[in-house]
Point group: C2
DNA sequence: ATAAATTATACGTTATTTGTTTTATATTAC
DNA sequence: GTAATATAAAACAAATAACGTATAATTTAT
């Protein structure tokens, strides 16, 4: 039995539906369309997923988990100085790894009868909590100012990530990478510990 | 009776449906959705358009006409030297004024029963012919090399316009504007009359 | 105040989507 | 090779959604 998450058809369905959901949201995409695009029969689809909603939940969960994972990797690396951490996090956002498509979320929220809005809220809260924990952890090691509220930090990351994809700003800096670096510098020196190390300096000597 | 094209509701329906069609294509967008988004009742919709297909045709026609109009403006302006003409045409494309969304066209072509593919072909041919006429007109005035085939010219414009939106090229030049200017320079000096004027020089002294 | 235009609602009719089932066709393990 | 398993393809009933029309209520313009 190849019910496993490694089954190529299972993965194909996930990849295809993610692509379609991301572009058109939930309601505009049909199961048959997913099957057709994924090159998989309907039987196979219903072997893996009871219906479209559950598939969407799986897609969403995977995406959130991957985001948290990436965030954690960045946060917990002792050898990365604060400035680079900021840069990496913004790159993460701008690359869309952590971005849940608006179209997708809209359908999650605007169909109360599916009971998805509550489900999403719960998932988001969990992810939020995990990331706050990671940040506090980094704080306790002195990598960030101790009196900075974790919630405020995450909010700022989110806002600045939005700025990074702003076309006007982009035009100012030429490439997204440059804009990200500039913003990261700006942001980092407002959040580093008072005794803060300089950009580029390694911080492994804290212990 | 306000059946006229200037009726604000009529215009609202067109604007809304264009936005939705551009993003999701024809089949994924419903009449009720358009009405809802446009803030217009279904009755009003059906007063102006017999059905979604006819609406789509109208949207498409308006878009093509606007493209031709812009093209003509650029082409026929005596005070614009060839180099600037090229730049303006590429900006026109890159701004999307003339770009018909891929999603939209897909649905036009992939539903033979609607009889839209033939209709689109016809419209495109007409637009193509008009633009060729405009180009020949400009040729006869000596603004472009006389032995350049108009069809080839339009093809080149299209191809180069695609290049202008290529991310890799963009990264090379920073801003789309810069890339456009560079490509325009490159392209123009290959198409100007043998006795060609220099870039920036006005060409009104031909007659 | 009146007429015209528009919305809101309900409705029957199609068309589409869903999820199941059946049959045929590959794949895989032995 | 054969049996067991997995998948595809197609047909299907049931549910859902979209279409287009009709009517009454409401708004807007004059």
């Amino acid at each position: 039995m190849s019910e496993g998450k490694t089954n190529p058809r299972y993965r194909q369905i996930l990849a295809t539906s993610r692509r379609l959901f991301w572009k058109h949201g939930l309601r505009r995409v049909t199961v048959e369309e997913i099957c057709r695009e994924a090159g998989v029969s309907k039987m196979t689809f219903y072997k893996f997923f009871p219906n479209k909603i559950e598939l969407a939940k799986t897609v969403y969960t995977i995406e959130v988990d991957r985001g948290i994972e990436k965030f954690r990797e960045i946060m917990s690396n002792n050898d990365t100085p604060a400035l680079e951490k900021m840069e990496q996090m913004m790159l993460l956002k701008s690359e869309g790894t952590m971005n849940i498509s608006r179209e997708f979320l809209n359908d999650f929220y605007s169909n109360p009868e599916l009971g998805l809005s509550g489900w999403v809220e719960k998932k988001s809260r969990q992810a939020w909590q995990e990331m706050i924990g990671d940040f506090q952890n980094a704080q306790s090691k002195g990598w960030f100012r101790a009196d900075f509220k974790p919630e405020g930090f995450l909010y700022m990351v989110k806002k600045i990530s939005e700025m990074v994809t702003d076309e006007n700003l982009l035009r100012l800096y030429g490439t997204p990478q440059e804009a990200i670096m500039e913003l990261s510098r700006f942001f980092t020196f407002g959040i580093m510990p008072r005794s803060g190390k300089l950009a580029g300096e390694k911080s492994r000597d804290i212990t």
